[in-house]
Every structure is written in C-alpha cells, then in structure tokens.
Point group: C2
Chain length 126, copies 2
DNA sequence: GCTTGCATTAGAGTCAACTCTATAGTTTAC
DNA sequence: GTAAACTATAGAGTTGACTCTAATGCAAGC
C-alpha cells in the first residue's frame, strides 16, 4: 500500500509517517521503495505504527521507542535488558495510574463542591 | 516566602515559577510584591503550584489549566460549565487509564516472550 | 564596605514532535 | 493528453513548556 492508505489506516498523517521513518521507527520490514521511488508499505507497518502510537500516548518518547524497538528488531538488546525495560516501564505505568487516581479524587471533590453550589439558590461569589 | 523557598517547597525551578506567573497561573492571592520589588508568596501559592503540577502531569496543558483555574477564581465560569469540565476531564482520565491497561497487557506479553527466550538455551536471532 | 548570593527583567535558546512549504516528478480519470 | 491527485525531497516554521543569559539591583554575613 502507498503512504496515503497507510495514513488512513493508522490515523496518522503522511507527514508524520515520513517523519517517523526518518526517526528510525520503520525499517525494511515495514517499507521499501517501488521503482518510481514511491514508498511501498507492508502490513507490518500498520501494526508497528499502531504500537508506536499506543506507547507514545502513554508517555514514551520517540527516541526511547526507537531504541527499544531497534533493540528488539536487531537483537542488539539482550533478553535481560529487554526484561528490565519492560519491568521498569510497567512500574512507571502503575505510578502514572496512581497519579490519575489522585487527580480523579481531586476532581470528585471539585464536583461535589460545584453540585452543592448549584443546588444552593443563593450561591454567590466566593 | 521568597521565590527560592517556594521553588524548594514545590520542586519547581524559580524560572518555572516566574514562567507560570507570566502565563497567568498565579494571581494576587498567591503572590504580591515587596517594596524592593521582590515577589512575596503566600502559602496559597504552594497549594496552587502543586495542583498545577498534578493536573499538568496527567496531560492538562497550561492553557487549559489557566482557563479553568481563572474560571474558578473569578467566577466567570458558571457552575454548570465547571461541572461539565470536571466530568469531561474524568472521562478523559478513565480513557487514559484504559490505554495504560492496554499497554500493560502488551508489556506483559513481551515479558512472557522474553522470559521464554531467556530460559531457552538455544535462543537465536528471530 | 565588600563579597556572595538571591532578586529583578527582557529576551534568546532549546527540545520534542510535529506541520507545512516549495519544487518537482508520477499516476489516474476523463 | 491534460488536469487533478498523489508522491518525493529538503528544509523552514510552529507549538508548548520550559531553560538559560546578561545586565543590574538588593541583602546578609563577616
């Protein structure tokens, strides 16, 4: 498939896809060139980009992603390094979820306050 | 207290605190000027900055935070708008937590795979 | 009174992650 | 066969959130 189709299938823009390639997040398993120099994408590219999107949306930088994905792809990362990365990432995510819970608690308090004020017909400034 | 102390107490840099003020996240309830033009901070500033930090760490932009906080402060936001914001933010956070769970599942799969490979003495490329 | 350290400002610089522009070649539909 | 739509590149511009610099002034300890 060509870049436009991949863009539609992944929800990324063609610009972003080219940018990701430049940043080293795609390799010859995902994309090659046709004779006209157009990029030809394999289905693997869809999976890869969706993976990138998911991890990126939980706070992985492209640089970090690139390192870990290249490590997995080329086996330059040892298995132990891979395990360590996964474990530390999992801890990070658990921490993050706790932060979200804290914010949710704060929002809940705000909501109670707001609703109380709404029901109070004499609600005033301060 | 002066800016340095506030920085220590909030874990932000003095640069960042001044930047936040410039961006409208602090007002006269949090900071005023001494005769020598030094900023003098009240305890409210600590709470405010911690709130900003927490919300910001779960993906609120400073612009969004500024709007909602100013709305709360000056009562230009109606109660209903406040409730709506809180509710939509809560939904957003729930969605985000689901994303985190998905990533955790992916990481778990990766971990299983890695551990299997580690135990396999004949582990090879691909 | 002098040094060291903290305070002020305006504005420049940085970084990540896009996002867009200009220019030019290719493909497709009619 | 030509216009519209898609592809390519290099490189410039944008945005958000800092982060730092330079020049200068105030303060506290000795």
């Amino acid at each position: 498939m060509k870049i436009q189709e991949l863009a539609e299938r992944t929800g990324l823009s063609v610009h972003t896809i080219r940018y990701y390639e430049k940043e080293g997040l795609l390799d010859e398993r995902h994309v090659r060139r046709d004779t006209n120099n157009y990029r030809h994408y394999f289905d693997e590219a869809i999976e890869r980009l969706k993976l990138v999107k998911r991890f990126q949306s939980v706070g992985c930088s492209l640089t970090e992603l690139k390192q870990i994905l290249q490590g997995l792809d080329t086996n330059t990362t040892t298995t132990q390094q891979g395990i360590d990365w996964v474990l530390s990432k999992m801890k990070e995510i658990e921490r993050k979820k706790e932060e979200y819970d804290q914010v949710l608690a704060t929002l809940n308090k705000m909501l109670d306050y707001k609703i109380a004020r709404q029901d109070d017909p004499g609600n005033k400034h301060r």
